[in-house]
Symmetry: C2
Subunit: 432 residues, 2 copies
């Protein structure tokens, strides 16, 4: 399998695309070797496209001179991400390669939690004073455009204590009459975030307002930095991945390609064992009804069908709810209205499913069995759906992540309900 990639790497004119395509099957040293063989502009392209985790690994496998060169290419917020992704013992070695002012900026950023607004922000934003004229501001920015600012497209107007007075886009500035002052054209209606705002909330704000950047303020309204939309794009993807993994009860795995086998085992085994524990209750339910089962073994035939349907209906409603809460499509406070809707839909689903299995019940067990199976189906679809809908909402109220209501957990809980409902009904209706 690796033969063609290895020979591709031996090629004289390796491109960034070729190297990146082969990336996952290469070892760290081969990656570094391939990277060093790239032409200058291809190397720039390749480095920019690697995730921070891979940048960190690559840097640590490059010769010292190259390592310094590439680390210094990065904006402080990106450099902070790389340092964070490097193994603990290598971090100070990387920090030492930065020039003094950048090292100070990066160290300050490292103090923020990775998934807070502070952990996303860049300290290099464009500052204006309110009394500048439009012409002065343009001249000033023209000089700044050559410097390493994160963006010159959003401009922040600060007082001498670095407190935010207003904001304007470069485009507003550019289109304004040259002799107006910044104060006259700035907007004081500013969308801003606090340092400790969760990155999921930050991304929802971007989504709603469509801005390219927002300022990050401390408790005294001093601007600490800005978060730009390209960082938020990564956040949206990262948060969706986390929810995906949580809802399937796989522990969060940032990258399947990069995770060690040990990590994958550890992430998955905990949930699987916990679910076995939950499933013991279904087993206990079955044991409790052992006589009923022995008296009518045909009932077992319908068991997977009924308990899986309960679990499936529950997975559907849980997933709809978890995602709608995550995107802000619905609010936790609406739960009474949502429960009403869910009950209506689940009743209709249950009725349809009951009709479908009634036929099957008639065919395989006769009218009494059909009655038990159909009634059970209607009930378990209803119960499963309501559990699936309410569980994420309950977690939200407890300030836990709603996605922790994973579909395997919902399925296992619905199974217990299914076993109890099924055999209780059978015992009662069939007089077993």
């Amino acid at each position: 399998m690796t033969q063609p990639e290895t020979s591709a790497l031996a090629h004289e004119n390796l491109s960034a695309d070729e190297l990146l395509d082969a990336w996952n099957v290469l070892g760290p040293d081969e990656r570094a070797e391939g990277f060093l063989s790239l032409a200058r502009d291809e190397a720039l392209d390749c480095f920019a496209r690697l995730p921070a985790r891979d940048q960190a690994e690559l840097l640590l496998h490059l010769p010292l001179v190259e390592r310094r060169l590439w680390l210094r290419q990065l904006e402080p917020d990106d450099a902070a991400d790389v340092v964070q992704e490097a193994p603990e013992e290598a971090r100070s070695r990387l920090l030492e390669l930065l020039d003094e002012p950048t090292r100070r900026e990066v160290t300050a950023l490292l103090a923020y939690a990775e998934d807070d607004a502070g952990g996303l922000m860049s300290p290099r934003f464009a500052r204006l004073r309110p009394e500048m004229t439009v012409d002065e501001a343009i001249t000033y920015l023209r000089r700044q455009a050559r410097e390493r600012l994160e963006t010159i497209y959003y401009l922040y107007v600060l007082d001498p204590e670095q407190r935010l007075l207003g904001v304007l886009s470069f485009r507003d500035l550019f289109a304004a009459p040259p002799d107006k002052t910044i104060e006259q054209i700035m907007s004081t209606h500013v969308v801003a975030v606090t340092e400790d705002m969760d990155q999921e909330e930050v991304s929802r704000l971007f989504h709603e307002h469509g801005h390219l950047a927002v300022p990050v303020l401390d408790a005294e309204r001093r601007v600490k930095g800005i978060v730009t939309v390209d960082d938020v794009l990564d956040v949206v993807e990262e948060e969706a991945t986390e929810d995906f993994h949580r809802i399937a009860a796989t522990g969060v795995v940032p990258s399947l390609a990069a995770a060690s086998l040990r990590t994958l085992y550890q992430k998955r085994v905990g949930w699987l064992l916990l679910l076995v524990f939950v499933n013991i209750f279904s087993g206990a339910g079955l044991a409790y009804f052992e006589d009923t089962i022995a008296a009518a073994v045909t009932l077992v035939f319908f068991l997977p069908l009924l308990i899986d349907s309960a679990g499936n209906a529950g997975s559907q409603s849980a997933t709809l709810m978890v995602r709608a809460l995550a995107t802000g499509d619905v609010q936790v406070g609406e739960w009474v209205r949502l429960l009403g809707r869910e009950l209506t839909v689940a009743l209709a689903l249950g009725a349809t499913m009951a009709a479908a299995v009634a036929l099957l019940g008639l065919y395989r067990g006769g009218p009494p069995i059909a009655l038990v199976v159909a009634t059970t189906m209607a009930l378990v679809v209803l119960v499963g759906s309501v559990i699936g809908m309410l569980f994420p909402i309950a977690l939200s109220y407890l300030d836990l992540d709603p996605a922790t209501a994973s579909t395997p957990l919902i399925t296992s809980i619905a199974d217990i309900a299914g076993v109890l409902i099924y055999f209780s009904l059978a015992r009662w209706l069939l007089g077993l």
Copy 2:
């Protein structure tokens, strides 16, 4: 429930935040009424924050003068989205409200599939000629900045046939010596997309390159428009929602809050019925082993536990794979390597799970039952994991969405395998 919101709406100084918080519980006429009572800047804020679907509904409930005013606020790509979200019969009425050139732009955009690059793009981008000087270009853009261009921050250099020659950021232009020509400072290394590129691929490109905009080219390299990063933010969220819903086998529901009960029923019932059909095979498996079950009813106790574990392991590996394929973390072509990794992890998981249930088996059924249960567990975790991993890859090879390998479907398939493995082993090892 609606009482407090209704009185909030009666309030003199309603804010955009208050109206949007109450949005989901209001009827269309109440929404329009609330919107019309907002102060000018609050109304602007509110309208900008509504999704296209809600903008369309709101517009159709506003008086004609207001409807024209608000529709004309929109950029052509956003106006096209609104027209697309309006009911079929209302679309031409909305289009007629636009001025002639905008109507032509919007109509052209409507011809593109909604989830192609063409459906995302804006036709209003900044064009430069290669022979302009930096100073001329800045003067030209200063005039353009007042016009309704989507962005002036990325500039596209075109030949007289509108073919793309190069690109530069406004910032590069701004920092360049005034007498250089555009041709001298532009970059010819352009990341571009084609009109029919799928929006998921477009968003992956943004993610990788971190640009704020990319040009959309036709077959002759003519620039048809640009896609900007804020549109891509919506795409990333929308695509994640679709995958979430597919993987839980709930048909794709763009908005849980806005979906009618009928839609929710229709989206969910098809999958539930299909899964019942799949589950009949588990039932048939159980019927086939009826004698074995009757001879050792204790075996039924372990049934939910074993088949659920197979399904859970399968859901885990399917979810990891579906998400890793969607984000580009792994490629379909790597499947041999990934299968090797999955087998190793699944063996370790199976061994751990087997040890856990062996104890339970000993306690509830004695050594022979424990042997059957533990061996079954190791096998079903392995089989479930491999099915979960390979199924999405197989779908990818068939050009289907890997997320169609929904976890309920994987669970049902794993159930069938579980039933067959469990009772075959029991029959063989216990001599039943």
